[in-house]
């Protein structure tokens, strides 16, 4: 077989159907082979390679499968990098294929040459430059294996153009043998016992749940643990949807724009049981003042996540679901009434609220109404980055894991829309909505053509404040209202823009129109762009100012 034939055969063996990309000189051999198998795949041609990487990422987050993207050498590959870094920071399994110049020309500054394995080394879990067609099948097999196992992440395979043309016998290895890579899934029984004991001794425990629970599929176990031992639960941005939002033990999201009661629980608890969470600075606030009374148990598949930012007393390395299953029978029921009463009091005192208006559209209201209109359907929400992202996290109630796609670690503007493309391709049955900012949406607006070409009925809701709102908020609160370089009121007419691409566009300027507009958009079989003209200077509250402790939150008191 030729290298190109091997490439296509390997994709089939890995069960790849939908994937995303953009062609160019160095990948013509691969695309030519693909052409012969066109009906067996659903290849989605994006309009910018960054979108291909984000789409593969959105596909992976929404389905739990490995997402695949492909781009040409040089500029094609460098355009992928933002998407690869985004996936890396949020532990998303994707395999990226890039073309490369001929093996003999590597290192000669050939046309469209870039050292792609060099560039992507710090933003991939692993990467490969294929130097011999003999290695191609093994490398692809390993790439998928590494991407999805352990702590998942992006893997890049750089394929020189001559490798696609070279011939060899096809041999797809049955098993992957990597002596330097052996993820550990089973938690140490002794450590698990210690966690059970710590829970038993704790008066004020707190379950701090992160994205690892989504990846591991451990949400049921988390709920059982919480209910059995009456432990309140906070879920990070990456874990929204892993715990029932209306559950009495639920505290919502912690951190910079989390609820005051989740943050107070961190301050007052005597035990943190962290599951698949990594004590990110957006969660902990000022690290020296974080959880001053708490012993910390940390369950994580990545040993390097443990004791990285805070000192951990009981580490348990392994898969969250397996470990929680071992832990559950060891945990004794305990009512913990006074702790939960305390938390209920905080909840009553500091509910998450905003002041609505009957003259201007409030973004929080839009998000609430989107929730109300979609709560009875299988819905996947993507966000961009900025205020739109935080309002979505605060006011949309996520009932199931893998229903929120958002760039948490890297905070990549322009992520949401192409991620929606991936999600819709992987979940054709689901309703997919991108809640966007007017700044972020313009970072990958060209993908409107992709959704039209491929018949992806994605709905976009722009919370349009004419500002790079989150930056403006910081400038307003901490930089003396000096609005430097954040006014983006000069913008296209989004309705006309949608229409120019051949899709429905809507502008909503009054609160009374919000719900009807959403319903109308949802009735539309194709893609729709909704331009919500919101209060320009609305802020996201409450907020822990950067560098402050979690109990030093400001704002949000109605």
């Amino acid at each position: 077989m030729t290298g190109a034939e091997i490439f296509v055969e390997c994709l089939k063996r890995e069960g790849v159907k939908e994937f995303f990309g953009y062609p160019g000189g160095a990948v013509i051999p691969l695309f030519d082979e693909l052409y012969k198998h066109w009906e067996e795949f659903r290849f989605i041609l994006v309009r910018h390679e960054q979108a291909a990487a984000h789409a593969a990422d959105g596909y992976a987050r929404a389905t739990g499968k490995v997402g695949v993207c492909i781009a040409t050498s040089g500029p094609g590959a460098t355009n992928l990098t933002t998407g690869i870094a985004t996936a890396y920071m949020d532990s998303v399994p994707i395999v990226a294929f890039t073309g490369q110049v001929r093996t003999a020309m590597i290192g000669s500054d050939a046309f469209q040459e870039a050292d792609v394995t060099g560039i992507t080394r710090p933003i991939t879990k692993h990467n490969y430059l294929v130097k011999d067609v003999e290695d191609l099948a093994r490398i692809i097999k390993e790439a998928f294996y590494i991407a999805r196992t352990g702590r998942p992440g992006p893997v890049l395979v750089d394929v020189p153009v001559d490798i696609g043309l070279a011939e060899t016998e096809f041999d797809y290895p049955e098993k992957v043998e990597l002596r330097g890579y052996k993820p550990n899934y089973k938690g140490h029984p002794l450590q698990i016992k210690k966690v059970a004991k710590a829970i038993e001794e704790s008066e004020r425990p707190l379950l701090y749940v992160g994205g690892g629970v989504v990846i591991s599929g451990a949400h049921e176990e988390v709920r059982q643990l919480a209910e059995k031992a009456n432990i309140p639960v906070t879920t990070t941005l990456m874990a929204l949807g892993t715990f029932p939002p209306d559950h009495p033990l639920y505290l919502g999201m912690p951190g910079m724009h989390g609820t005051r009661y989740a943050n107070m629980a961190f301050i007052e608890c005597d035990l943190i049981i962290a599951v698949g969470a990594r004590f990110d600075d957006r969660v902990t606030g000022k690290i020296d003042a974080f959880a001053p009374h708490a012993k910390i148990a940390h369950i994580d598949i990545d040993p390097a996540a443990i004791s990285k930012n805070v000192e951990v007393h009981i580490p348990v390395v392994g898969d969250a679901k397996l470990i929680l299953r071992e832990l559950l029978p060891l945990v004794k029921p305990r009512p913990r009434n006074s702790w939960n009463d305390q938390i209920d009091e905080w909840k009553r005192k500091w509910p998450l609220t905003y002041r609505n208006s009957d003259s201007v559209v409030k973004p929080q209201y839009v998000v609430e109404q989107i929730y109300e209109a979609t709560k009875d359907r299988e819905t996947i929400i993507a966000t961009e980055v900025g205020q739109n992202q935080m309002w979505t996290a605060q006011y949309y109630k996520f009932h199931r894991p893998r229903t929120l796609l958002t760039s948490g670690g890297l905070g990549t503007m322009g992520y949401g829309f192409p991620a929606s493309i991936g999600a819709q391709a992987g979940r054709p049955d689901a309703l997919v909505i991108d809640i966007a900012g007017d700044g972020s949406i313009q970072m990958n607006i060209q993908e409107l053509a992709t959704v039209v070409q491929h018949g992806l009925p994605i709905k976009i809701a722009i919370l349009n404040n004419g500002y790079l709102g989150m930056v403006r908020q910081w400038q307003e609160l901490f930089w003396g209202r000096r609005y430097s370089a954040v006014d983006i009121a000069v913008q296209p007419d989004f309705v006309k823009l949608a229409e120019a691409y051949g899709i429905k566009g809507m502008r909503i300027e009054h609160p009374s129109e919000v719900r009807d507009a959403i319903e109308e958009a949802l009735k539309e079989p194709g893609p729709v762009l909704m331009d919500f003209r919101i209060e320009r200077e609305e802020n996201v509250f409450p907020m822990v100012p950067a560098g402050k402790a979690l109990h030093e939150m400001i704002g949000g008191l109605a």
């Binding site: 394995t117 430059l129 590494i146 330097g180 040993p303 390097a304 004791s307």
Partner: protein, 162 residues
């Protein structure tokens, strides 16, 4: 504190860059790094000497362990180990001072490996203290050139008390 890290890695292109990249990404300055094939030609052994805060170092070790190409990493400084370094020193040696220099070399069991009318080149091996000492002794003569291999190290097999 100085740490000596021994790593067994896949003998493949790009591995050195991965490892060096990890250190620089975390703001670690590498004092020395040596790499060479082991008894198994598919495996290389790296000896890395770094100076740094224990907690940061622990993080770097964990990150190293995560690399697919890294088979085993250990911080051997906490155990008994032998370490050696080789140094080549080209020193000013006018005829009048030659015997003095050769005496010093002899004390350190170093070898004269090259000679010219005005210089001697000395090869010495030993642990860090010894290398420091011979360099210190030769400095007054005027060192013209110095090349060090960096440290190689291995755990001692006999760990019992004597």
């Amino acid at each position: 504190m100085k740490h000596t890290i021994a790593a067994l890695v896949e003998n493949r292109f790009g591995v050195l860059a991965r490892i060096a990249g990890l250190f620089s990404a975390r703001g670690f300055n590498i004092d020395s790094l040596t790499v060479g094939e082991t008894e198994d030609p598919t495996i290389s052994r790296m000896t890395i000497v770094v100076e740094g805060d224990d907690r940061v170092l622990e993080q770097v070790m964990k990150q190293l362990n995560k690399l697919v190409d890294v088979i085993k990493v250990s911080d051997i400084s906490s155990q008994k180990f032998v370490d050696r370094e080789l140094v080549l020193i080209k020193v000013n040696a006018p005829r009048s001072r030659r015997s003095e220099i050769m005496e010093i070399a002899e004390v350190f069991r170093a070898k004269i490996v090259d000679i010219s009318p005005n210089t001697l080149t000395i090869e010495a091996t030993g642990n860090e203290d010894k290398i420091k000492a011979i360099i210190g002794m030769l400095k007054p003569f005027g060192i013209k050139e110095l090349a060090r291999t960096g440290r190689v190290a291995m755990l001692r097999e006999f760990r019992g008390e004597v």
